[in-house]
Amino acid sequence: MSSARGRQTFVIGTTLAIVMASIALALPAGASMRHAISPQLPLIVLVSGTLIGAWQLVTGIIGAIANGGVRASDAVPLSLGVSALFMALACLPSDRDAVPHLYAVVGAAIFAVAAAVLQRRSGVRPEL
């Protein structure tokens, strides 16, 4: 399997799995599971997002300092870290709104897409 085909298979397979799982949760049969897991989801995002965001940020900063500047390969973990922190921020409880905050989610999306772009521009390709 070539690397390009492997990447394509990975993206398509993951996307299909997410779509199927999302549809399953939306069906009446999945309502009980949805209600069972929904209270824990913000906590998972808050804890793991903070930890991973901090880890990615520190990794990126260390790489930038070690290389004497921010390269594309260093910017990827920085973008991923900011994205993870935005995800955690989106799930912080507030007095007015108990749902994920829109602006924080949008920020997470922007930095996740930026990370994908930087990763592609870095020129390093996987060997799947």
Binding site: V11, R34, A90, C91, V105, V106, A112, V113, R125, P126
Partner: protein, 332 residues
Amino acid sequence: MKHRIAVAAIAAAALVAVACQDQDGGARRLATEPGSTSPEQGTRYVTTGVAAVVDRVTHRLQAVAPSSPSASASVVAANGSPDAVTISNGAPGIANSGGQRISSFVDASSHRHTVSMLYSSVGGPPAAVQHYVDGVLVSTNAFSWQRTSTGWVRTGSLLRVVRKGTLVGTYTTVTTPAPVGKGGGSKPTLRLQGPVAPTALQRAIGSAAYHLAFVFAPQDATAQSLAWSACSQFWLRYAAAAAVVVGLEVAMADMPVITAFILAQFGSALSLLAAAEDQLLDCVLSHQPSSTDNWSSGMGSGAGSGAGGGSDGTKDCLQGSYAAHCTTAFTL
């Protein structure tokens, strides 16, 4: 391409200018708040209101002056704006058939407000509205509407204020058309702040700005809790969360090595997506208008097997009744 951008900018500027001009007030405005004139040219309305509270000794309604200290706060508050209400065709909250629509929101004091709008079998604006705070009924409001060429005019309303299942006060309004040039005698006249003579172009642009305002900039709580915009925020969150997942997915596909941390971040993004989907589904399900059958079954055993909104069992609900069979579905 540049021409298209220029035309689009000019059109947007024109719409914004008209919308801003509408905010100045006056009878020509097309705001999302209730107005005091009908959409038809030259028609003025006079609304009179009567407030009453239940006497604690005799348990009978007694009319009170709006400023009477014996009147409850809710009744007095309702008396402060005796304007006529006009609703245009296509406005949010208009139904095509009978049923009910439920909206809810949490206020700054963390109290959950639920508004249930009950529609008669012919549709149109809601025939009755029930207001619950933290699952407890606090008021019902029944309306009567008159169809006009461009929408509806509220001809009467009956607000019942309820505390612990007991009626404590009412506020009744009656709206009647007044001939142009006559103020309606001693009755309180409404805001009339300019001639009602928009041109066809002004009306067309104003109508477009009016509907855009409903979609993009709802100006009151009613507008924010109705129509598709009720779940638009949840939908945007869901779309943004999906973008996070896709971004991470593409980044992972290009990474030479997929570490445990990036997998964990991907799992967090999936959790965020699931949380956003959960909120979106809850919002959509709570705003789905009930069908005729659901209406009958949803209004308790008293609904019987009649058609939605018109059966004997639910007719009193459409008239603002706070009886158990009208409210049980929301208070359990």
